[in-house]
Structures are given as C-alpha cells and as structure tokens.
C-alpha cells in the first residue's frame, strides 16, 4: 500500500472519529439537557483517563498515581481563579502548565524504577501530594476544599451557571482539540518510539535511542492533559477537593482505562463513559451493591476481555470483516 494513500486514509479515519465523538457529545447535549453537570464531569475524567493511557498504554509504565497530575491542574486553576485570574481559557492553560510541571517531576522520579517498584513510587507520590494539599490549608482550603472561585463567562458571553451548558460545550470543545492533538502525537515518530520502548526496549536502545528523555517527554504531555482535566473540573465545579489528588481517583482512572482497553485513545474514552454511566445509574438504584458489581465486572474483564472493551470490539470487527480485508490486500 503506498504511504501517501495510507496517510490520507488514517487522516480520513481520524476526522471521522473526531466527527463521531463530536456528534455523540452533541447528542448528549440534546438528549440529556438535565444531566450536563454529570456529563461535564465525565469529560473531565475522560481527560484524566486519556492522560493515563499515554503513560500506561503507549509507554508501558504502570501508574496508580495519575491523580497527582490531575490534582495539580485542578488546584493550580482553582488557586489562580480565587486570586483573580478568571478567564476560563487562561485557567485551562494554567492547569495544563501545572500538570506538565508535575509530570516532569513525577516522571523524573518514577522512571528510576521498573515494574512493581515503579507502581509503588507512583502511589507514594500521589499520597505525598495529598498530604501536602491537606497541610497547606491556607492556600488549598485543606479538607474543607478550595471554594469561592467564580470563573468569568466564557469569551465574555457564556456563564458557568446552574444548567452547565457552557461548561459542557466548553469541555467538549477542549476534549476534541486534545483528542485530535493526541491522535497526532501518538502517530508521530515520537509516539512510535514510545510504543517501541514498551514492546521491546532493548531493540530501541540498539537503534541508539536513549529511553529516559523520550519517556519523560510523554510524562510531560500526559501531565498537561491531566492538568487540563483537573482545571476543567475546577472551573465547572467551582470547588476543588482533596479527592482530586488522591489514590482513589488514580485507581478509578486505571480501572476505567483497562475497562476500555489500553493503548487506544478511543478505549480510554469508551471506558470512562461506560464506567461512569454505569456508576451513575446503578449507584442511584442500589448504592450498596455498586462495589460488588464493579468488582465482578473487573474480574470478568480480566478473564474474558483481557484487551478491554475496545480491544474486544476491534477483534470482533476484524473477525466479521476478515474476508473483506483479505480481498482488500
């Protein structure tokens, strides 16, 4: 297959994918106009899960501390907002910057180890930050949460109000941009090297590529994405709590990612949407059995769909279209 044709084809598929997400997002806006705060929350968490996918799925680094990056963004945006910087776009950028800096720090520490110790480092980092946020209660509000922020209307026109329309559309737009950029990043030679490092580090290093700066760069990108998710949450909720920088949110993010399937950006999105929708519905019906159900779903996924929902979907599609594929080749 000629390279140019393949490139234009992937571009076409990307555009299609983005259009699809946009359509589903807008459909959500029309279909559930009363649940927009929840849907905004889903987008914010989806950014977190997406950022985790960059590290776990594309670099093979296990992390149970992604909340550190998300929380850094949330608190940075929240603190900036309380101190008078109220432009939402600017706040998102501040969140991204804070997340990126935290990603740099976290990456520098975490890349010193591999496997399980690496996982433990990520936990230790998020716990340390949690403690720090609790301690610095004069800046962060501690366990009572940081409140009292009132972001300015978006572009000076659309207010962040009870109905949450502007927050949702703002979030959706942000998500589409981030998703498009990440599609590009993961396709780029840099993204390929990351994948290579995950699959076969020895071979990549034989090519003369030093792993550390490559992975660190991905950590920074991941931090920026997670930071934007946090900042979006801060803007939409107008309160930042300690839960945004916690082990729990990190573990939940990982669960959602694996549910959707690691190493696909779509997987991160699907996992988040399905997990949170289920939680929203089931927990409202019977909060008590929610935990048992999640547990059972996790076990089932590991046993029967080890590549997550998107991976299984892929496989199904491949099985169904196998003949056509062959003919195409």
């Amino acid at each position: 297959m000629p390279a140019a044709a393949s490139a234009s084809r992937t571009l076409g598929r990307d555009l299609l994918g983005l259009a699809l997400i946009a359509c589903v997002g807008l459909a959500g806006y029309w279909l559930f106009p009363d649940n927009l705060a929840f849907l905004t929350r889903v987008i914010s968490v989806a950014l977190l899960v997406l950022s985790l996918d960059l590290i776990v799925g594309y670099c093979g680094i296990a992390s149970l501390g992604q909340g550190a990056l998300y929380g850094a963004g949330a608190y940075a945006a929240g603190i900036a907002c309380v101190h008078g910087i109220t432009d939402p776009v600017l706040l998102i950028l501040i969140g991204a910057a804070a997340g990126a800096v935290m990603g740099l720090l976290m990456g520098t520490i975490m890349l010193r180890a591999h496997g399980l110790p690496q996982l433990v480092l990520s936990i230790a980092i998020v716990q340390l930050l949690h403690e720090a946020a609790n301690k610095a209660s004069s800046i962060t509000g501690g366990s009572d949460g940081l409140s009292g922020m009132s972001p300015a209307p978006l572009f000076g026109l659309f207010e962040f109000d009870l109905w949450g329309r502007s927050a949702y559309l703002f979030g959706l737009g942000l998500f589409l941009i981030v998703f498009a950029v990440l599609r590009f990043v993961t396709r780029s030679p840099f993204g390929m090297v990351c994948r290579g490092l995950k699959e076969d580090p020895l071979r990549i290093s034989a090519l003369g590529i030093y792993a550390f700066p490559v992975l660190l760069k991905m950590f920074v990108i991941s931090g920026a994405v997670a930071g934007m998710g946090g900042a979006l949450a801060a803007i939409a909720t107008q309160v930042v709590g300690l839960d945004s920088v916690s082990f729990e949110i990190s573990a939940n993010a990982l669960v959602m990612l694996v549910l959707g399937g690691i190493g696909h950006l779509y997987g991160a999105l699907i996992g988040t949407v399905i997990f949170m929708a289920l939680e929203h519905v089931v927990a409202a019906i019977n909060p008590f059995h929610w935990m048992t159900l999640v547990g059972a779903v996790l076990i089932a996924i590991v046993l029967f769909a080890p590549r997550g929902l998107s991976g299984t979907l892929d496989e199904l599609v491949r099985l169904l279209t196998r003949d056509r594929w062959r003919a195409g080749r």
Binding site: A37, E131, S143, G145, T237, G241, D243, S244, P287, F288
Partner: protein
C-alpha cells in the same frame, strides 16, 4: 417463541405506560420532591443510612403529606467527599428531578460545591450534618439542623476545668473539623483558666497511637482532649489510651461525641468507659419524644445498634422542610421558605432547639456525657449535665 415474547412484552409496556400516567397524575395532585444527598455506600454508608432512618422516621410519624402536599424523598449517593460529584448530583436533582428542597450532605466540601447553585435553582438546602461554620456564610439559602464542631466543643472546655483538670494535651486529626475542634477547645480552656501544654495534629489515617500516648505522658498532662473521625482511628486511640496505662494513671480523656458514636460503642466497650464527651444528641436521651423517635428510626435502620446522631439531624431537617412547605403553600420560593423558619423553635428528640434567625444554624442544648453501661448492660453515652441554648461560637460576631 416470538409470539410468547411479545405477549409478555405487551402487558409490561402497558403497565409501564399506566405507571407513567399515574406518576403524571400524582404530580398534578402536587407532590413535592425533596432531594437527599448522603453517603449511602462506601466507608461512610452507616452515616447515610442514619440520614435515611431519620427521614423515614419523621415520615412514619407525621405522614407523607404536609398541608395537603405529598412529600417524596429522592436519595442520591455520594460515598466520600467529592465536590465535583456533589455539584453534578445537586444540579441533576434541581434541573431534572425538579426537587423543591435539598437536604442531607455529610461532608463540608460537598456542601460548598452545592451552595452556589441554590439561588439560581430557587432551592433551599437543609444540611443534616456537614459541620464547618463557614458553610452558612456561603449562601443565604442554607439552614443547618446538625451542629458545628465549635458548638459541641466549647462547653466541654469549661466542664473539664470544673472537674479539676488544668493541664491538657489536645490530639486532633489533621483535617478541617479537627483543626476547628483544637481551636475551639483551646479558647474554651484558656477562658476557664486551664492550660494547653501541647497541641498535637496527626494524619487522618493513623490507627497506631502508642507514640502519641508517649508524648502525652512526656507533657505531664492531667487531661487529654481528642478529636478523630469515628471508626478505626477512634478505636485505636481509645485502646492505646488504656493499654499504655494512661487511663490507670488517672489521666482524664475528653472528646466530642463524634468519637463515641453509638454504633461504635460495642467495639469501644470497656476501653472507653468513663470517657467524657460533649455532644448535641445521645440515642439514650431520656425524653418521651426521643423514645418514640428512636423506636421509629431503629425500625427504619434495621438494627438498634446502628442508630446514631446523623439520624436526628435528618429527622429535624425534615421537620424544618415540612414547615417550609407549609409556609410557602407548596410553591417553590426558596427565600420565603428560609425566611419562614428563621427563629423557628421546637421540641426535638435531642431537646429544645431553635433556628437562629441570624446564622440559620440550629441553637441547641449541648450535653455532657459519660460512656457507661445502662441497666440492660448496653454501652451508652450517659448524659450527666447539660448546657442549654448554645449557638455556634464559630459564627458569633
């Protein structure tokens, strides 16, 4: 097969349709929805169950309608402090479920996330628990029927000094309520002529307290004030206090009633006996109205030893909401509703209470209690003294 399926499906959908119609009809007959947000699952599920038990006890005693308007409770689960989720739930309750009143809320950050919505939603919020003073200033549409940490702590300082204890060490968990308690106790002790030798803050998840006991010993304290979240930390603290011999050495342990929640007492047992706490409500409170409340709430919660203070917050919360409904004749008017309950006084299971017109926080009697066994051999918080008409000192100007 297909036909059988259809046959089963048709009546089902007809039923659903009829149900929907009936719902619509009953909405015409004026059903007022009250959204209750609380931790109904997760580590704090017991507190949420108490919300539910208290609310249902009120409905069981007073019927499901107020002045001709039916009340429907809509529960939403918020397992841990999570402002983002709190806002989403509150928004959904207001916009989609069209609730006229919001109630519940266990954690302060959740309350803070909900208050900005109240004005636009034209909905009052009646807090059943969240105990930080500052919530009341964040919106004029908030009323609180629980307590604040400063409110329950302050009377304890004077009582402790009156018991001849002068030198104290305070040990609190390092989070908002803990820091509030530390400050309030220190102020009260110093006003009464006592002295705080040392103030110790410990991480929230601590369960092993021997080193803290060593510090208390080193400081030469005669009394210890503690504020910890109920559950494992409290159990660890009380055990360590008696295991390390501090209790035997005659050091007195003081705390707020959060620590000796009735549901924890069977586990704390002997180790906690003699501990003196101050609080707004004990399940064992001796009054006719409380006996009736406790019986109804125990029935709602299932087992008698699960009942504790959040239930009374919810019970009184529903009373306040019922007054709001009556005052607005069922119309949605948050300001008028809140205005109507300012200064409202009534006899609660905990004793005489009143909504302070200025702060919209509940004014109530704070009791001094001792952990002891009752006639049936059950561990209870036995009331030994009472300090009536306590406002929230955290809000007093």
């Amino acid at each position: 097969m297909t036909k059988g399926f259809l046959n089963r499906l048709l009546p089902a959908s007809a039923l659903a349709l009829a149900g929907a119609l009936a719902l619509g009809a009953s909405a015409m007959a004026d059903t007022i929805k009250v959204g209750i947000i609380g931790p109904f699952s997760g580590p704090f599920a017991l507190q949420g169950k108490n919300f539910q038990a208290g609310a249902e006890a009120w409905l069981a005693q007073n019927g499901k309608s107020v002045a001709g308007h039916d009340i429907e409770l809509v529960y939403r689960d918020l397992p841990t402090a999570n402002p983002q989720q709190a806002r989403a739930l509150a928004q959904e309750l207001i916009v989609r479920d069209k609730v006229q009143y919001l109630g519940g809320v266990y954690f302060t950050p959740d309350a803070m996330a909900i208050t900005p919505l109240l004005k636009q939603g034209n909905v009052p919020l009646v807090i059943f628990n969240a105990a930080t003073s500052a919530i009341m200033t964040s919106s004029p549409l908030v009323v609180r029927t629980s307590f604040t940490t400063a409110q329950t702590t302050t009377p304890l300082g004077k009582a402790a000094v009156e018991r001849g204890v002068k030198k104290f060490v305070s040990v609190v968990s390092d989070y908002g309520p803990g820091v509030d308690a530390e400050g309030a106790f220190k102020k009260a002790i110093e006003a009464a002529g006592g002295e705080i030798k040392e103030s110790i803050r410990i991480p929230l998840n601590t369960t092993e307290f021997s080193p803290i006991m060593q510090r208390i010993r080193d400081a030469g304290a005669e009394g210890v004030f503690a504020f910890l979240p109920s559950g494992p930390p409290t159990l660890g603290f009380v055990k360590a206090f008696s295991d390390t011999g501090l209790k035997k050495a005659g050091v007195k342990l003081f705390a707020t009633g959060d620590l000796t929640q009735e549901s924890d007492l069977p586990a704390l047992g002997e180790a906690a006996s003699g501990m003196i706490t101050s609080f707004h409500y004990a399940v064992s409170h001796d009054s006719e109205i409380n006996k009736r409340f406790a019986a109804a709430a125990e029935k709602a919660i299932g087992a008698p030893d699960l009942l504790s203070f959040p239930a009374v917050g919810a019970y009184d919360g529903l009373f306040v909401i019922s007054k709001m409904i009556a005052a607005t004749a069922g119309k949605q008017d948050a300001e008028k509703a809140v205005e109507a309950v300012k200064g409202l006084g009534w006899e609660s299971p905990r004793g005489p209470v009143k909504i302070d017109p200025e702060t919209r926080h509940i004014t109530q009697t704070i009791y001094l209690r001792e952990v002891a066994k009752d006639a049936q051999g059950r561990w209870i918080n036995k009331e030994i003294a009472s300090v009536p008409d306590q406002k929230d000192p955290g809000l007093a100007k």
